[in-house]
C-alpha cells in the first residue's frame, strides 16, 4: 500500500515542495529502504523512525518498506523528514486518512517525541504562498512558524499524540502566536553612550549612521575608544520594522539560529567577526550554502574592528553586499541569494604602529609603511562608505573632572528617540519605493527626493573643488545631508545640513 505525505525542502532561503512516498509492500522480505538522494542524516532517519515508533508502543511492520523522497534528483539534507516518513508508515499500518493540504516536517527523538528543527518560518511562508492549510511541526518550533497568520500550525509533541489526532480520537488546537513573554524587548548594548566621555563628533556620526543606515569608518589610535563606541552603537538603533523583522527572522530561521519557543526577531542584529574570518565565513557559502556574517547582520550592524587587518579577499567580497544589499553565492551544485543590507561600522588605526596622530606617543612608521597599510583597503570599498570620522585620543582624567563634559552627555535612549523620528520620516518618504533608508538611495532617488537649492548646490560644488571630492563623494554628501535634515525634521536640505555633512568626508591627506 502506498501513502504520499507532503513535506518541504529548504534550500538557502527558498523552499521546495517535496513528497515523501512510503510504500509498505505485502510481499517480499522485511526491509526498510530510503531512496531519492538522501544524505547521511536522512539515511540515518531509518533507525530513528523505527526506534521512535517502537518506543511509542506501536508495532513496527515487519514488511518491505520503501521510502522515496521526490523529486528524486535534489539532494536531501537534514533530519526533518523523520516525521513525514513515520507518518507515512503509521498511516498504512493504522489505516487512517491523512488530512488534505497538509505538510509534515520534523525530526524524531528515539522516544517518539519531536525535536526542535530549523527553518520552521520558511516552511510557514511557503505554506501560505502555496495555499497549504495545515502544518504539523515540532511543538518547540511551532511558535516560530505561527508568526505567519492564515496557516494552521499544529504543534506536535510526540508520535502518539499525532496518531490519536489523525485517527480522530482527540481534537488538536492549532498554535497561536505568542510574542516572547519572558524576554522583554529592550535594546541593550554593552555600553551606554553616556558612559563615553568626550568623542562628541564620533557620537554625532554614529547618530547619523543609525538614522540613515549609513556605513561608517572610524580612524583612531589604539585606546581612543573606537571599539567602545561601536559596542555602544546597537543601543541607539531603533527596533526592526515589521517587514524588516520578517526578513531577519527568515535568515535566522534558515540557519537554525532561532531558539525553541523563539519568536520573531525585533532587535537589530550586531555582528562583530574577528579579522581572521575567512571570506566564506563573512560572505556565506560552504558545501551547504549557509548565510555568512553579512547576511546575519542584515538590517543590523556589521562591525569590522581592525578593518585593514582583514584579508583582502574578504574585504573585496564585501563589494556586492555593500552595493546591492544582497549576496548571490554560486557553487557547482547550487546557488543561493541572501539579503545583506547592513550598516558597516569599520574601525582602523591611522598607521601600522597606531600612533600617527597621538598627542604624546611618537609614530615610528615610515611613509611607505603608512601608504602600504592604507592601500590594503581598495578604493571601491572606501567608495561605499559614507561617513568618516577621526576618533582622537582623549584625556579621560581631565574630561572626567570637567563638569561641562558631563552636562552634555546624552543617554543612548535620548539619542534613539531622535533616530526613531528620522527613520519614520524616511519610511514615509520611501513608502512607494523598494528602499527603506537614505543610505540606500541611488542616483534616481537622490534626484527625486533631494532637490538642492541654488545656495546649497554652490557650497557642494565649491567643496568639491576645495576638498577634492570624487563624483561618488558628491552623492554621499547629499545622502548624509538628507539624513541630517531628517534628524532635524527639516523638509529641505539647508546650508547648515550640507555644511555639516562635509565634516564627514574622507580625509585623503596623510
Amino acid at each position: 500500500m502506498l501513502v504520499k505525505v507532503a513535506s518541504a525542502l529548504n534550500l538557502g532561503l527558498h523552499t521546495l515542495a517535496m513528497e515523501v512516498e512510503v510504500n509498505v509492500a505485502n510481499r517480499g522480505l522485511p526491509a526498510f529502504e530510503i531512496v531519492g538522494l538522501p544524505t547521511k542524516a536522512v539515511a540515518e532517519s531509518k533507525e530513528r523512525v523505527r526506534t521512535a515508533i517502537i518506543n511509542s508502543d506501536i508495532q513496527f511492520p515487519a514488511r518491505r518498506i520503501v521510502v522515496n523522497l521526490a523529486p528524486a534528483d535534489v539532494p536531501k539534507q537534514g533530519s526533518v523528514y523523520d516525521l513525514p516518513i513515520a507518518v507515512g508508515i503509521l498511516a498504512t499500518v493504522m489505516h487512517c486518512r491523512l488530512p488534505e493540504r497538509s505538510l509534515f516536517f520534523g525530526e524524531l527523538s528515539l522516544d517518539g517525541t519531536l525535536r526542535h528543527t530549523k527553518g520552521a518560518l520558511l516552511l510557514a511562508l511557503f505554506a501560505k504562498e502555496r495555499g497549504v492549510e495545515n502544518i504539523f511541526i515540532p511543538k518547540s518550533s511551532a511558535n516560530e512558524a505561527a508568526i505567519i497568520k492564515g496557516v494552521n500550525i499544529y504543534p506536535v509533541e510526540n508520535l502518539n499524540q499525532l496518531l490519536s489526532f489523525l485517527c480522530g480520537q482527540i481534537s488538536f488546537e492549532p498554535a497561536i502566536y505568542k510574542e516572547n513573554q519572558n524576554k522583554q524587548i529592550i535594546v541593550e548594548a554593552e555600553f551606554d553612550m553616556s558612559e563615553i566621555l568626550g568623542q562628541e563628533q564620533a557620537k554625532r556620526t554614529m547618530e547619523i549612521a543609525a538614522a540613515g543606515s549609513h556605513n561608517l569608518f572610524m580612524v583612531g589610535s589604539p585606546g581612543s575608544g573606537k571599539t567602545m563606541l561601536a559596542r555602544a552603537f546597537p543601543g541607539i538603533l531603533p527596533l526592526l520594522t515589521e517587514k524588516e523583522s520578517l526578513e531577519v527572522t527568515r535568515i535566522y530561521s534558515a540557519s537554525g539560529r532561532i531558539p525553541p519557543q523563539g519568536s520573531i526577531i525585533k532587535i537589530r542584529p550586531f555582528k562583530a567577526p574577528h579579522h581572521t574570518t575567512s571570506p566564506v565565513g563573512l560572505i556565506g557559502g560552504g558545501s551547504r550554502l549557509k548565510p555568512g556574517e553579512v547576511s546575519l547582520a542584515h538590517r543590523g550592524v556589521l562591525f569590522l574592528d581592525e578593518f585593514n587587518e582583514f584579508p583582502r579577499s574578504a574585504l573585496e567580497a564585501l563589494r556586492q553586499p555593500l552595493e546591492d544589499g544582497y549576496i548571490t553565492i554560486c557553487r557547482s551544485r547550487e546557488k543561493a541569494t541572501f539579503p545583506s543590507r547592513f550598516i558597516l561600522v569599520a574601525s582602523a588605526n591611522p598607521c601600522p604602529c597606531g600612533y600617527l596622530y597621538h598627542p604624546k606617543k611618537v609614530c615610528i612608521c615610515t611613509r611607505r609603511e603608512i601608504e602600504k597599510y592604507r592601500k590594503r583597503i581598495s578604493g571601491p570599498i572606501l567608495d561605499r562608505i559614507d561617513l568618516y570620522v577621526e576618533v582622537p585620543v582623549v584625556d579621560i582624567k581631565a574630561l572626567s573632572c570637567d563638569q561641562k563634559v558631563k552636562d552634555c552627555l546624552e543617554s543612548s535612549k535620548t539619542i534613539r528617540q531622535r533616530i526613531i523620528k528620522a527613520r519614520e520620516i524616511q519610511q514615509r518618504r520611501f513608502s512607494k519605493e523598494t528602499i527603506y533608508t537614505n543610505a540606500e538611495m541611488k542616483n534616481k532617488h537622490i534626484k527625486k527626493y533631494c532637490q538642492l537649492s541654488k545656495e546649497v548646490n554652490q557650497i557642494l560644488i565649491k567643496a568639491g573643488t576645495n576638498f577634492h571630492l570624487s563624483a561618488r563623494s558628491y552623492f554621499k554628501m547629499i545622502r548624509i545631508a538628507r539624513t541630517i535634515a531628517d534628524l532635524e525634521g527639516a523638509q529641505e536640505i539647508l546650508i547648515p545640513h550640507m555644511a555639516e555633512a562635509l565634516q564627514y568626508r574622507p580625509r585623503s591627506e596623510g
Binding site: 563628533q201 554625532r204 611613509r367 563634559v405 567643496a463 576645495n466 547648515p496 555644511a499 580625509r507
Partner: protein, 295 residues
C-alpha cells in the same frame, strides 16, 4: 617616466667654467663638477636661500615653511633645499606654488630620483625653470656620507640658511654649521619648548643664529620687503559671534573639533557646519584631525 628622466639632457659644469656659481666656488672644498638637470641660468644663483629641517615635519613646521617660503620665493629669491621628504619637500612645493624658483640638491647620482615617490615634485621643479643638481654622476644610491656632502653644496650656494624645524640629530644642523663656517647668515625659526623637533632650532638660536619672527626678518637681509606683510596675524573682519570665538580659540592653539566644541560651548553638529563653511572660505584649515586658523 623613469626613462624620460634618463634621456633628459644632463649638463656638466666644471669649477673653472665661468657659469659655475661664484658663491659655491668660495667654500673651501667646492665640488669639481656639478651635474645638473633643467635650464642652467646664472641668474638663478644670484639670490639663494637654503631651507632645511626635519624629515618628521610637524604641522607647525609645515605651516611655517609654507608661510615663509611662499613669501620669500614670490619676491624672486631662489629656494635651495635637499629634496628629502618633510621640510625639504615642503619648501620646494611652497616655492613652486608661489611661482618662485627652486633648486634641489640631490644626495644621490644625477640619474636617480630619491625618494622616488616625489617624482611629481621633481618634474615640476624642472618644468618651472628650477634646477636639479648633484655632484655625483650616474645612478648611484645615496649613502650616509653623501648627505653631509650634499649639505655643503646647499649651504655653499646660498647667501643665508634657514632652519625651520630641527631635532637635535637633524641633518639640517650640519647644513647650519656649514653655513656658519662659510660665513653665511643663519636663520632659525623658534618652536615650542615641548617639541623634540624644535630642540635643534632652539639650540641654534641660543648659539647666535638669527631668530625669525616674520618673513621680513629674512627679506631684510636681501634688501627686500614683502609686499603682503600682514599688519596683524589672525585678523578677519565680518565674523559673527561663533566664528569670532572659533578664530580666537584656534589662534591660541590648534584643536580637535571635540575640544573646540567644549571651548565655544556649541554642539559638534552646529560647530561642524560652521567650521566647514569657514574652511571653504579659507579661514581655517584642517590637518591630522586638528583645526588651525590660516595666517
Amino acid at each position: 617616466m623613469e626613462q624620460c628622466c634618463l634621456l633628459m639632457k644632463i649638463k656638466v659644469v666644471e669649477i673653472n667654467n665661468s657659469e659655475y656659481p661664484c658663491l659655491l666656488r668660495q667654500i673651501n672644498n667646492p665640488p669639481k663638477k656639478l651635474y645638473c638637470k633643467g635650464k642652467w641660468d646664472v641668474d638663478i644663483f644670484r639670490n639663494c636661500l637654503a631651507v632645511g629641517g626635519s624629515r618628521q615635519m610637524t604641522t607647525y613646521g609645515r605651516r611655517v615653511t609654507d608661510e615663509l617660503v611662499s613669501k620669500i620665493a614670490s619676491v624672486g629669491i631662489t629656494i635651495v633645499s635637499g629634496f628629502m621628504y618633510g621640510v625639504d619637500a615642503q619648501a620646494h612645493k611652497a616655492a613652486l606654488l608661489s611661482g618662485g624658483k627652486t633648486i634641489a640638491v640631490m644626495p644621490c647620482g644625477i640619474d636617480l630620483i630619491h625618494p622616488g615617490y616625489q617624482k611629481d615634485i621633481y618634474e615640476e621643479i624642472i618644468a618651472k625653470g628650477g634646477l636639479i643638481i648633484s655632484e655625483i654622476e650616474g645612478g648611484s644610491l645615496p649613502a650616509p656620507w653623501t648627505y653631509p656632502r650634499r649639505n655643503r653644496i646647499i649651504a655653499g650656494l646660498s647667501r643665508a640658511t634657514l632652519v625651520v624645524e630641527a631635532g637635535l640629530k637633524s641633518g639640517s644642523l650640519i647644513t647650519a654649521g656649514l653655513a656658519k663656517k662659510f660665513g653665511r647668515k643663519l636663520f632659525a625659526v623658534p618652536g615650542p619648548l615641548t617639541s623634540s623637533l624644535s630642540q635643534g632650532s632652539l639650540q641654534l638660536i641660543k648659539r647666535g643664529a638669527d631668530m625669525v619672527t616674520g618673513v621680513n626678518d629674512i627679506l631684510a637681509d636681501y634688501g627686500l620687503v614683502s609686499p603682503e606683510y600682514p599688519a596683524n596675524y589672525f585678523s578677519y573682519s565680518g565674523l559673527n559671534k561663533l566664528e569670532q570665538s572659533i578664530v580666537e580659540g584656534l589662534a591660541q592653539e590648534p584643536k580637535e573639533i571635540d575640544a573646540l566644541s567644549r571651548l565655544v560651548n556649541v554642539s559638534t553638529s552646529e560647530l561642524g557646519a560652521t567650521i566647514s563653511l569657514m574652511q571653504l572660505r579659507g579661514m581655517v584649515s584642517e590637518e591630522k584631525g586638528k583645526y588651525y586658523v590660516n595666517f
